[in-house]
């Protein structure tokens, strides 16, 4: 019961925040208010899906890191406020139609299958299992991720260097 209520509340917040991100004429509002709302709601959904660790990760990295970066970027560039939706968005109708079509397409796949029974909540520490998985079967992926992060760091440094 509580899970259901929680889900619906978080769902509303998530969808509302998403709409705000894409429809808000004020980019700053979109980035600082609506986006974190959506991200935190997503984290709550992770909690509802029995992974509190990911809830924490989401809050730290997404709601914390990504939003900060976006705010920096907005500050460093101009034109963050537009007067109307037409000024801040283009071909709204086309985009809406296409997005709706994609949604309907995905929906078609989702609803046609039978409802699988929910297995019992996994026993044992999730953290331990996650850690074992990361260094075990997914060890290679972890290493590659590390390489990717280093490369991304270097790239960002290069791009953001001062003019010489």
């Amino acid at each position: 019961m509580a899970e259901t209520v929680g889900f619906w509340v978080m769902a509303v917040v998530l969808v509302g925040g998403s709409l705000g991100v894409v429809l808000s004429p004020n980019l700053f509002h979109a980035a600082v208010l609506y986006l974190p709302a959506a991200l935190v709601a997503t984290g709550a959904i992770f909690w509802l899906l029995e992974s509190p660790f990911l809830f924490g990760v989401q809050l730290l990295l997404y709601a914390g890191g990504v939003v900060t970066i976006v705010v920096f970027a907005i500050m460093l560039t101009e034109r963050l406020v537009g007067e109307s939706i037409r000024q801040s968005s283009r071909y709204v109708f086309n985009g809406a139609v296409l997005a709706a079509a994609v949604f309907v397409g995905l929906l078609g796949f989702v609803v046609q299958r039978a409802v699988p029974p929910a297995p019992p909540a996994p026993a044992g520490e999730q953290m331990v299992a996650l850690g074992r998985a990361l260094v075990g079967p997914f060890g290679a992926a972890l290493q590659l991720l590390a390489v990717l992060l280093v490369v991304a760091l270097l790239g960002a440094l290069y791009f953001a260097r001062a003019e010489d």
């Binding site: 979109a30 660790f53 907005i74 929906l107 297995p119 991720l145 992060l149 790239g155 791009f159």
Partner: protein, 99 residues
């Protein structure tokens, strides 16, 4: 809640993010849309991890979160660099690939 609820929610957020990517004029706005799309994917992954008792879904989610953060960093660095050169980050004006 059944699995379908989470999947439908994720699809909805994905569509909204797509809408944002397609319509936003500002380059940063486009990146925000991309964020939403990746978020929706994460919800999908975690839902399947829960409903199939597969730890792989959570690992996958962690990896995508890390990659997303890196991508945002680099992407915004590029946006700033473009802004320095062209003094605008409006997507309509960034048409050097025009044929």
């Amino acid at each position: 809640m059944p699995l379908q609820a989470y999947l439908i929610l994720a699809a909805l957020v994905f569509a909204i993010g797509l809408f944002g990517v397609l319509t936003r004029r500002n380059a940063v706005g486009i990146l925000l849309g991309i964020e939403l799309m990746l978020n929706a994917v994460n919800i999908n992954l975690v839902a399947f991890a829960r409903f199939r008792a597969d730890i792989g879904g959570l690992v996958f989610t962690m990896l995508t979160i890390a990659i997303t953060v890196a991508e945002v960093a680099v992407g915004l660095a590029i946006v700033i660099a473009i802004f320095r050169v062209r003094r605008t980050i409006e997507a309509d004006h960034l048409d050097l690939l025009r044929g």
